[in-house]
C-alpha cells in the first residue's frame, strides 16, 4: 500500500533555535496520528511545515495525489499547493477564528469552500451546507447566523464542517479541542471519531492532551526539543513508554 503522506527529514530552524529536526514518518489512508509534546517541543512548527504554512529548511512532504500519484508538496507551485489545500487537505485550527470567516454566515462559511472547488448552483450549495451543519449538530435554523453569535464549541464544529465539506483525504488539526469546556470536548471527540471512521480520513493531530490522543489517535509521535523521541501505537506508547521523556510525560498527568 502507498502511504497517503510520506514525510522525509523535515527540519526547520529559527536562526540558531531548532523548531523541528529531521522528522520522518509514513501516514496511511484511514490512519490518525497524534503528535504530543510540551510547549516548545516543535509539534506546531512541524504541523505548519507539513501543511505548507511555514517553509521547511529541508526535507520532503510527499502526498499521494489523486491524479499524479506521490508528489513532493514542498516543490509544488503555489497555485498547485493552494488547490490541494482547498480539496484533499484540510486544516482545523485551535482557534476557530483562524479557520472561519467571522463576518460571513455559517452557511456561507461552509459554502465558500464548495465554491472554491467550482460549485456554482446556489440551491445545491445551500443544501449541502445545511447537510453538513446537521452532521456537526448545528441546527438548520442557524444557517444564516454569523459565527460571532456561536459558542466556542459550535464555532469549532462549524470549522470542522467547513473543512470536511469538500471531502478531503488528509486533515491537519492543531489542538482541535483546546480551549473548550470538557463537556464540549467529549462531544467533539465523538464527532471527530465518527467522521474519521465514516470518511476513512487520515489525520495528524497536534495536542498536549494525552487523553485526547488516547481516544482519537491510532499512532503517537512524541516530540521534545524539536526531535522525535518515540513513536508507536498510541496505547502502547502511553501504557509502556520507552523513552525517559515519555515516561515523565505520562507519569505527570493529573488523575481525576
Amino acid at each position: 500500500m502507498t502511504p497517503l503522506l510520506a514525510v522525509r527529514n523535515i527540519s526547520k530552524s529559527y536562526g540558531s533555535i531548532i523548531g523541528c529536526a529531521d522528522v520522518s514518518f509514513d501516514l496511511y489512508p484511514g490512519e490518525v496520528m497524534g503528535v504530543v509534546g510540551e510547549s516548545g517541543s516543535g509539534k506546531s512548527t512541524l504541523l505548519s511545515c507539513l501543511a505548507g504554512h511555514l517553509e521547511a529548511d529541508a526535507g520532503e512532504v510527499i502526498f499521494d495525489t489523486r491524479v499524479d500519484g506521490p508528489k513532493d508538496t514542498l516543490k509544488m507551485s503555489e497555485p498547485e499547493r493552494r488547490m490541494l489545500g482547498r480539496t484533499d487537505w484540510a486544516f482545523v485550527h485551535q482557534s476557530a477564528r483562524d479557520g472561519l470567516r467571522m463576518g460571513v454566515s455559517a452557511g456561507g462559511n461552509v459554502g465558500e469552500r464548495l465554491m472554491a472547488v467550482g460549485a456554482r448552483h446556489y440551491g445545491d450549495i445551500r443544501a449541502k451546507a445545511i447537510d453538513w451543519l446537521g452532521r456537526v449538530e448545528i441546527s438548520e435554523t442557524r444557517v444564516d447566523d454569523r459565527p460571532t453569535t456561536f459558542s466556542g464549541g459550535m464555532q469549532q464544529r462549524l470549522q470542522i464542517a467547513r473543512n470536511l465539506v469538500t471531502g478531503p483525504r488528509l486533515v491537519f488539526m492543531d489542538e482541535p479541542t483546546g480551549g473548550l469546556d470538557v463537556s464540549v470536548q467529549a462531544r467533539l471527540l465523538d464527532l471527530l471519531r465518527g467522521l474519521v471512521r465514516d470518511m476513512n480520513l487520515s489525520a495528524i493531530i497536534v495536542t498536549h492532551d494525552l487523553a485526547v490522543v488516547r481516544l482519537l489517535a491510532d499512532r503517537l509521535m512524541v516530540m521534545k526539543d524539536g526531535h522525535v523521541v518515540e513513536t508507536g501505537l498510541t496505547d502502547q506508547v502511553l501504557d509502556d513508554p520507552q523513552h525517559a521523556y515519555t515516561q515523565l510525560l505520562v507519569s505527570s498527568v493529573l488523575q481525576v
Binding site: 462531544r187 508507536g232 496505547d235 502502547q236 515516561q247 515523565l248
Partner: protein, 236 residues
C-alpha cells in the same frame, strides 16, 4: 482435545520483557524470560500464577499494548512483537478481541454505540451494528433503560458486562479475556461462561485470566503457570 493437527492461532516463543524506569533511578525490572505459549483454534488456555507473576503483562503483550524486548508473538499471520502499528490495528479490528478489566470510552457516548463500535470499524451498517449491540446487551442482562446512557457512571458489574458485550459482538478468531467474570453475580457469570463456550465452539482461540477457579475449570482446556517464565535472578 479437539483439532489436533490445526495450526495454532496464537503462538508465542522466546518472549522477553523488562521495564526500564528512567525516572526512578533507571531501575530495571525483568518480568518475562523465554515465555512460550501455543493456543489452537477452539481452545481456551488459562494463565495462572501469583499476583505480579506477569499474567496481565503477557496478555497485554499479545495485544500489542506492551512492547516485547525479544521473541515472537504470532497471532494468525502477524508477529505482534515486530509488526507496524497499522498491522496491529488491523489485527485488533478483525482478528484479535480483548475484554479488559477497564472501560475506556469517549465520555457521554451511549452504551449501545460503545458496544456497536467494533462492528462499525469492520464496515458494518449502522442499523445492523446497533441491532447486534442491543441483542448482546440483552443477553448479558444489562437493563434496557441503561442502553442510551454513557457507561462511565455504571457500577463495576455493569461496566464489566459492557466490556464483555463489546468484546463478544464481533466473532474474533482470537480473544484475550482479563477476568471476564470478576465482578459479576451468579446469573451473569453463567451468561459470560456461555459466551466463552460459544466462542470456542465457533473456533476462537482464547487466552484468559480467571481468579474464579470454578469458572476457569468450566471453560479452560489447559493452564499455563506464568511463574515459569519469571527470569531467574542471576548471580549478582
Amino acid at each position: 482435545m479437539m483439532m489436533g493437527q490445526n495450526r495454532p492461532m496464537i503462538e508465542i516463543s522466546g518472549l522477553r520483557k523488562s521495564f526500564l524506569l528512567h525516572n526512578q533511578g533507571a531501575a530495571r525490572i525483568d518480568v518475562l524470560d523465554d515465555a512460550q505459549l501455543s493456543v489452537a483454534p477452539g481452545e481456551c488456555v488459562a494463565l495462572t500464577g501469583a499476583s505480579g507473576a506477569g499474567k496481565s503483562t503477557l496478555m497485554r503483550m499479545i495485544y500489542g499494548n506492551y512492547l516485547a524486548a525479544g521473541g515472537r508473538i504470532m497471532v494468525g499471520e502477524v508477529d505482534v512483537a515486530s509488526a507496524e502499528p497499522r498491522e496491529i490495528l488491523a489485527l485488533r479490528r478483525n482478528t484479535l478481541g480483548y475484554v479488559s478489566q477497564f472501560l475506556r470510552v469517549v465520555p457521554r457516548v451511549p452504551t449501545v454505540d460503545v458496544v456497536a463500535e467494533p462492528l462499525l470499524r469492520v464496515g458494518e451498517e449502522e442499523a445492523t451494528a446497533r441491532d447486534a449491540a442491543k441483542e448482546i446487551l440483552a443477553k448479558v442482562n444489562l437493563p434496557e433503560r441503561l442502553w442510551s446512557l454513557s457507561p462511565t457512571t455504571f457500577s463495576g458489574g455493569e461496566q464489566q458486562r459492557v466490556n464483555v458485550a463489546r468484546g463478544f459482538i464481533h466473532p474474533y478468531p482470537a480473544m484475550l479475556l482479563d477476568e471476564p467474570t470478576a465482578s459479576l453475580d451468579g446469573t451473569n457469570r453463567e451468561v459470560v461462561l456461555g459466551l466463552i463456550r460459544a466462542a470456542k465452539a465457533r473456533g476462537a482461540a482464547i487466552v484468559g485470566i480467571f481468579h474464579d477457579e470454578d469458572a476457569r475449570d468450566q471453560v479452560c482446556d489447559r493452564e499455563i503457570d506464568v511463574t515459569e517464565f519469571v527470569p531467574q535472578r542471576g548471580a549478582a
